[in-house]
């Protein structure tokens, strides 16, 4: 299982990465990208099994990243990790092809219950 974390904050990428390991998921490799554009490039090269993406990022935001990835035909599950908990934004992300949403702050338990379905 290969996971891609897309977030412009290096600290947040470390937090998510650590949370995934603390949640006990079996992960072979965690890859990181600092914005949506880099996320697209990384996914094209490495073909990850699950993507966790921030919302607000420079160059290409999370919503555009989701749309672009789906436009390319990639069906990898994408879960948005964000502080913005607005229903409208979540609905827009899901409509654009995101598979779920995690609100910060989160615990390993939150990650386990939200992401468990993607680790089989």
């Amino acid at each position: 299982m290969r996971v891609l974390i897309v977030d412009d904050s290096s600290v947040m990428r470390k937090i998510v990465s650590r949370g995934l390991r603390q949640a006990g998921f079996k992960i072979d490799e965690i890859l990181e990208a600092g914005d949506g554009q880099k996320g697209l490039a990384t996914q094209a090269q490495k073909k990850c099994d699950l993507i966790l993406s921030d919302w607000n990022m420079p160059n290409m935001d999370g919503l555009t990243f989701v749309k672009e990835l789906r436009k390319s035909g990639d069906k990898t599950p994408i879960v948005m990790v964000t502080t913005e908990g607005g229903e409208g934004k979540v609905a827009e992300a899901v409509q654009s092809g995101a598979n779920g949403h995690i609100k910060k702050p989160f615990t390993p338990d939150t990650l386990r219950s939200t992401l468990g379905q993607f680790f089989k």
Partner: protein, 160 residues
Amino acid sequence: MTEHEQMQEQIRAGLLEGLIQTVIQVFETMAWSRITYQGEQPRKHFVLASQTCGLIGIRGARDGLVGVALDRHLGLEIVSRITGLPVPNIELEDLADGIAELANMICGGMKAKAGIHGLDLTPPLAVIGQDATVHWKTAHPVRELTFMLDRDIIRVLVSI
């Protein structure tokens, strides 16, 4: 008080309550740190005089500013706890990024808890320095909320 003023007061009170709850929640959830709310005091100016500060602006239904200020050693400890990096391995960039992310999570949680539509948060700003003083002009009165983590003080300045 006019209807508009009553609505603004409701928004302000909701944000303040959400802010206090979220500060405690973020420290507990992300940094495994039990902090206690000590109370609030009015301040004449929005001055962040600590060594490690995160700042976020609020725009929309209510304009405002929220700042989180910690001493450097506490900032390093918190970033260490949330990332798992040992304190000596935390670079200046990690500290700035971590404190900005802390402010981001606190304000995002405040917004979500208050349940107010039409509020936008600016990207977080981090100020790290031995003698930095951030002085910001604000539209509303300034309050300083104080939290304690063991013997350390966490100051949250708010103008909403």
